[in-house]
């Protein structure tokens, strides 16, 4: 009798141990899930819900079904901002895929390790400068009355006076030019890491086949870092569609609507007009567009890689 009780006790203890052993990892993960839920998924779900409402952020939301989405189609500012977004996104994609890759190739080609290290460092250091500071420096460069660019155009004998960010025909391009020569930052490191990850044997085999210099870049390097290219392309598209930092700091979407992008309009609608419901609808639409483009990019680049392989 006493023996069987002992066996039962041991079994119960083992059962408890077993449950505890596999439940523990989940318990450790729980705070992370809770935090992600509260700070990432709940706001997103809340935005989704409020996109069907008329809500000013304070009073009780009024359910509108799809009225906000219908209003978006007739919102001239939003519709006009889409072309700016397209231009900015295309530009963002172009500069992300070209300049950092070029710089990474140049650094990769440097044989001296010490020199390579210093080049790498020099291209990465600008990351520590906050983006807002960069924007304010460019704001000074573009100042038509006392700025560097106007002083330069005067110095080289151009008598025409430019308003730069104050000119509706130039403002968007001025914003796109900020960050020139677009070569610094983490993008360079991502490309460089990809290039350094290419197996030496592949490079050697390619060179035996005559793929050296530019031919190697095209036929070996690019296919081998397609993962990095895909990642940066997706990030560039997302950044191009969502981004409005430069507009917020330098133009507020103006002059007129010249630099307005959907992100800036969303912000203005939410925090200036206090139309949280409508702003949520814009956000939801942007989310769907980004999701679609991301899936398409992944699919397309995956197919391209498979074809390449």
């Amino acid at each position: 009798m006493a023996g069987s009780r002992r066996v039962l006790d041991v079994t119960r203890r083992r059962k408890r141990l077993s449950v505890t052993r596999w439940i523990f990892p989940y318990l450790f993960l729980l705070p992370t899930f809770v935090l992600i839920g509260v700070f990432s998924y709940y706001p997103a779900a809340s935005a989704l819900y409020h996109s069907f409402t008329d809500w000013n952020g304070i009073t009780r939301p009024r359910f509108l079904w799809l009225d906000n989405f219908a209003e978006m189609t007739g919102d001239k500012t939003l519709v006009a901002s889409l072309s700016n977004m397209g231009i900015v996104t295309a530009w963002s994609l172009f500069i992300t895929l070209t300049m950092p890759f070029l710089v990474a190739e140049l650094i990769y080609a440097v044989r001296n390790e010490r020199a390579s290290y210093w080049y790498r460092l020099l291209f990465v250091i600008p990351i520590v400068v906050p983006w807002v500071v960069t924007l304010l420096v460019w704001s000074f460069i573009y100042n038509p009355d006392v700025g560097l660019l106007s002083a330069f155009t005067k110095a080289i004998g151009i008598t025409k006076e430019f308003r730069w960010l104050g000119d509706p025909n130039m403002a968007l391009y001025c914003l796109m030019f900020i960050g020139f020569p677009f070569a610094a930052g983490t993008n360079v490191l991502i490309y460089l890491a990809g290039l350094q990850g290419i197996d030496e044997s592949i490079i050697d085999a390619a060179s035996l086949d005559g793929a050296v210099g530019f031919r190697r870049v095209i036929h070996v390097d690019l296919p081998m870092i397609s993962g990095q290219i895909r990642l940066l392309a997706v990030l560039a598209i997302i950044g191009g569609i969502q981004g409005y930092g430069s507009q917020y700091v330098l133009t507020r979407g103006g002059p007129g609507y010249a630099t307005m992008v959907p992100g800036m309009w969303l912000y203005t609608t939410a925090f200036t007009f206090m139309r949280m419901g409508y702003a949520s609808a814009i956000g939801t639409a942007m989310f769907l567009v980004i999701l679609g483009l991301t899936v398409a990019t992944m699919h397309y680049t995956e197919s391209a890689v498979q074809v390449g392989n």
Binding site: A45, Y49, I58, P144, R163, L165, G166, P168, P255
Partner: protein, 498 residues
């Protein structure tokens, strides 16, 4: 099969099951969080709860020290404890008179948010100051409807015990606040802000010119500076400045229309009044008064610095301080900055102030021929009381405001910064007389947040389209059509929302 299974005692949950359980739990939590909140209590009953204020302030010490958090931004010591000596002195006097009550300065930290959005969060969370500065009267109606505001009405008719012979506190105020849609007063202003031109006296003397006596002289003056490659009039790059230039002109030309709109009460029109006028076709973009206003205000803007339309970092102050601009159209609140910065400037110069010139009948048949004043209630001392401040704390807060509005007390505080114009009778701020409203001025309060355009949305459309007109990107006909449509749309939406 392990020993537990052999004994038939095994109890095991698969990971899938655990995840299912967690998922159901999380769903429950989300649904719980999404439960509709209990309706917010309106401020009205709270105000009524304290409708028996103590006009002479709290007489008996409370059981526990009552701490009143006050945001006296602009007058209180800064985050490092510098400045605000007069206010600190008054606080010490008041606390000595009222044992058991303590005033703490509340420092705002907007954390990069729009100010009104941040304040809204504090009001909802009930963790903001008990007396709140917020120069944003355009949001108060919404806050009131959300039950976030308390009202001054029970107190304004009481005598101010700190002012000899005063029988009604509100009689001390030069300009009264606009009331909310429920007829109650949700904010008061102890000071005022006005706009004028700061000008470089040395530069004017060198060029042999004097401050203008009228509108045409002002334009001639601007031309002189423009020909000499000097920015005639530095303007700030903000939406507010668009309206702050348009309204002083409108004050002189559209005055009769606005005056009729408010029934001759000499106050700022309410958004609903403007909306109704727009809807009824009594206020249109095409009306000659509006077109004259637009023409003159646009002419004025032609003399602004080239970067004034960018909407980005403001360069008007630095242009004036570095003598690249001859004048700067600005607010009296910037007077203090100039007093501080001028001695440190690379090339300090003498400066003074001139008022917005009178528009003569020769420029518009509708001009009143009177001076105008761009004036707002109020400056740093525009105060609102959140609904969470009630009971004895509310009484004490009002008592502190009464103490502060004693002329000698307010004069001491305002003279320390020399930034603003007083809104309490008998107070003088030295050197600010140039900003005082002329006696014969025809004006109403300018709601810098766009009351003529009814809502923020209307204001935004108005500023952007005006920019395009000024820059020659839009013809006048195009502008008129666009703005008339936008105005009607905004008016309809606003009236429907009431």
């Amino acid at each position: 099969m392990d020993s537990r299974e052999k004994l038939g005692m095994s109890w095991r949950m698969s990971r899938r099951s655990l995840l299912k359980v967690m998922g159901v739990g999380a769903l429950g939590a989300v649904l719980g969080a999404c439960q509709p909140e209990a309706p917010a209590a309106t401020a009205a009953p709270k105000a009524e709860a304290s409708e028996v204020p103590q006009p002479e302030g709290p007489k008996e010490a409370p059981r526990e020290t009552v701490v009143i958090n006050i945001d006296h931004r602009g007058y209180q010591p800064d985050a490092e404890g510098k400045g605000g000596e007069e206010l600190v002195r008054l606080r010490a006097e008041w606390e000595e008179m009222h044992p058991g009550y303590k005033i703490d300065w509340y420092t705002m930290d907007f954390q990069g948010m729009e100010e009104h959005a941040w304040i809204e969060r504090r009001l909802v969370a009930k963790d903001g100051p008990d007396l709140l500065f917020g120069n944003m009267t355009y949001r108060i109606e919404t806050w009131m409807q959300g039950g976030l505001m308390n009202f001054y009405d029970p107190y304004l008719d009481l005598p101010n015990p700190y002012v000899d012979g005063n029988t009604r506190w509100y009689d001390q105020f030069i300009k009264k606040s606009e009331t909310q849609s429920n007829g109650k007063t949700a904010w008061i202003g102890l000071d005022n802000t006005t706009l004028s031109y700061f000008y470089n006296v040395d530069m004017f003397e060198d060029m042999g010119v004097a401050p203008p006596g009228g509108w045409e002289e002002m334009i001639e003056l601007f031309k002189v500076f423009e020909e000499n490659d000097i920015v005639p009039c530095a303007m700030k790059h903000s939406k507010a400045y668009a309206i702050w230039t348009f309204d002083p002109v409108a004050n002189q030309i559209l005055h009769e229309v606005y005056d009729e709109m408010v029934g001759g009460e000499g106050r700022e029109p309410l958004p609903e009044e403007v909306a109704q006028y727009v809807k009824d076709g009594k206020l249109t973009i095409g009306m000659p008064q509006y077109q004259d206003t637009l023409r003159l205000a646009s002419e004025w803007w032609q003399y602004a610095q080239k970067g004034a339309y960018s909407g980005g970092d403001d360069d008007s102050y630095s242009l004036f301080l570095s003598q690249k601009a001859a004048t700067r159209y600005g607010g009296c609140w910037e007077n203090g900055n100039l007093l501080t910065d001028m001695p440190e400037a690379d090339d300090p110069f003498a400066w003074n102030i001139f008022s917005i010139p009178v528009i003569p009948k020769t420029l518009s048949d509708y001009a009143t021929g009177h001076a105008t004043a761009a004036v707002f209630i109020a400056g740093y001392l525009l105060y609102m009381i959140p609904s969470y401040n009630s009971g004895e704390k509310l009484d004490a807060t009002i008592d502190w405001l009464m103490y502060l509005s004693k002329p000698s007390n307010l004069e001491a505080v305002m003279n320390q910064t020399k930034n603003l114009v007083p809104n309490i009778r008998g107070v003088n701020v030295d050197g600010m007389e140039g900003f005082y409203v002329p006696e014969d001025a025809t004006y109403w309060h300018i709601n810098s947040w766009g009351s003529p355009m009814i809502t923020q949305e209307g204001l935004d459309a108005w500023v952007r389209n005006w920019q395009l007109l000024l820059l020659g990107e839009m013809s006048l006909d195009e502008y008129n059509d666009t703005m008339q449509t936008a105005w009607e749309d905004v008016a309809d939406k606003y009236l429907a929302s009431l």
